[in-house]
Assembly symmetry: C2
């Protein structure tokens, strides 16, 4: 295992401590519940947003806490859902008069934790609701999911909900925009290598030197098929061939295009993939109005990438353009 | 080779095309000279900044073009200096009344290309000067360098020069701030894996399953020594043990601390390393005033990280805080 790590059991807490030390004025780390929150949360003038999931998908979600995005993130251990009582404590800590919206990528373990947490918080009279994200077109059900999985498209849901929450919208309004964005967002990923959870110390699955996993999940779970590694052009064809007809996206549509790295693929390759995808979409008459290239939702150090398309309208585009600030800044 | 690539010879041009397609209003790709430039350059009210080097270090330098940073970047092929005549054409394209400053990481091949380009541009009456960056404390001379190498600390030189150039400073003033920042910046890196240039198709060097290269160069060239992989704590001790006494940094100093990923290490591990380094520096009485965690100067998909410290004064801190916009935005 080639990682910067001390005790694998302390991998997540040590990462969270690093996030807080790098952002001492804006971010608070609460070790008791393993959570990261805005230092100024809750703000009673806005709905609070909480996202949680297993760790290993950074910057999602612990590094997207900040104005215009999440109020808190409650991560589990690597690739494990957070405990329901930690989610509940997180919801209570950031509960505002306007309520709390829990955002959850659709994985069965996460659903269970968040649904239990919602019930516990409601019993305490916290105004709370939950929104599930399921943007992955690769498979209908999978190893750890009933229904489609939630993957990198969750960024757009968080961004739109975050922007509308900052404007003072109500909990049902914030949930409704999240559902709307989720309904027009489609993603598919490809893995070129496996990844190694620190506590396991060995790769999660085997992938031959000349193989790739098409439609991989963000924990390395199987997608559509195992195939021989081919050119970037052919990989993009296969990904867009799954994404575009699914909504469907059509000539004349305005879209946001994201190329997301899964953790181990350098940004040079992501821009190469972006260029190929952009030209193919433009050739179909699809207009790219917003571009996102980088790491948004990863699988530790997995080499691979996903493509996400979001069909835009004026409302969604306005919310994507709204200012936001997160932990993981460049400057 | 597990990469998103079509023809390896077209790897760099296809990446550059992707950058331009993702930023159609602000960035121009000039295929004749393989360069990326601000669409609005040159601006005669400011010194133009150009950085070039081999490719494979992205986001450096082709993804840090934009207001407050570079006016243009002229990359070579992967790990190869750009041709002198391309550097010369780049300098001419962005030449402004206030002049052009060429920023160069100290590698012998790059020095040669940029010194020749400066002579050619001067023969055309372009006002031009060159600044060399050599922040790497690992080794005095190395495989491809006389003197110290320039690595991730170049970000701080670009940022300070970029901010001062936007304020309308003269060419000597912009060069002077760059030299000042370089003189108080120190970096050291550690590689956990090798990397594979697309055209070679095989790893650049061999590193055993339980080994790391301490003081690695950004092309995988040897550093101080090969050692057994140890805990993150011990690795950070070794890195800070080389960096801190070198300037030296001392109790009472205010610093910027950067943890830079070399391409294949996930950001979770980078924050873990940041947290360890921050606590160790604070224990020595060194105050961290600015934090940078992410990928700034990489080696393709190499797993590894570098730590950079910059000793701050009011002038440097003001310039680091100035606004800037680059290709590689998050939102």
């Amino acid at each position: 295992m080639k990682k910067f790590v001390n005790d694998p059991k302390q991998f997540v807490p040590e990462m969270l401590k690093g996030i807080a030390l790098a952002n001492p004025e804006t971010i608070k780390y609460v070790p008791e519940y393993n959570l990261i929150m805005r230092a100024d949360a809750p703000n009673n003038d806005k709905v609070s947003l909480v996202q949680g999931s297993g760790s290993g998908h950074e910057p999602a979600h612990v590094m997207v806490v900040g104005p215009g995005m999440l109020d808190a993130a409650c991560p589990g251990d690597v690739f494990s859902a957070p405990p329901a009582d930690y989610v509940y404590e997180t919801a209570k800590l950031v509960a505002s008069d306007k309520g709390v919206l829990l955002l959850v990528n659709n994985y069965t373990g996460d659903r269970m934790a968040f649904e239990m947490a919602q019930e516990m918080a409601e019993a305490d009279d916290v105004l709370v609701d939950t929104l599930f994200i399921d943007d992955d077109v690769a498979v209908q059900d999978s190893t750890w999911t009933v229904g489609r999985r939630g993957v990198a498209g969750n960024f757009f849901v968080m961004k739109a909900c975050g922007a509308l929450a900052e404007e003072g919208a109500s909990l049902p309004e914030v949930k409704a925009i999240g559902e709307k964005v989720n309904s027009v967002t489609r993603t598919m990923g490809v893995a070129l290598t496996a990844c190694t959870p620190p506590a396991k110390g060995a790769p999660l699955f085997d992938l031959g030197e000349d193989e790739m996993e098409i439609g991989v999940g963000i924990h390395g779970e199987p997608g559509r098929r195992r195939a021989k590694l081919v050119s970037a052009d052919e990989i993009v064809d296969e990904m867009l061939g799954a994404i575009v007809p699914d909504l469907p996206f059509a000539s004349g549509d305005r879209v946001a295009l994201m190329v997301n790295g899964l953790g181990g693929t350098p940004i040079s390759e992501l821009y190469l993939v972006y260029g190929i995808a952009a030209e193919k979409l433009q050739a179909q008459g699809i207009e790219i109005a917003r571009s996102y290239v980088g790491e948004y939702c990863t699988s530790l150090e997995m080499a691979g990438a996903s493509i996400t398309l979001v069909k835009l309208d004026d409302e969604i585009e306005r919310l994507l353009l709204a200012p936001a600030e997160v932990v993981n800044r460049i400057f």
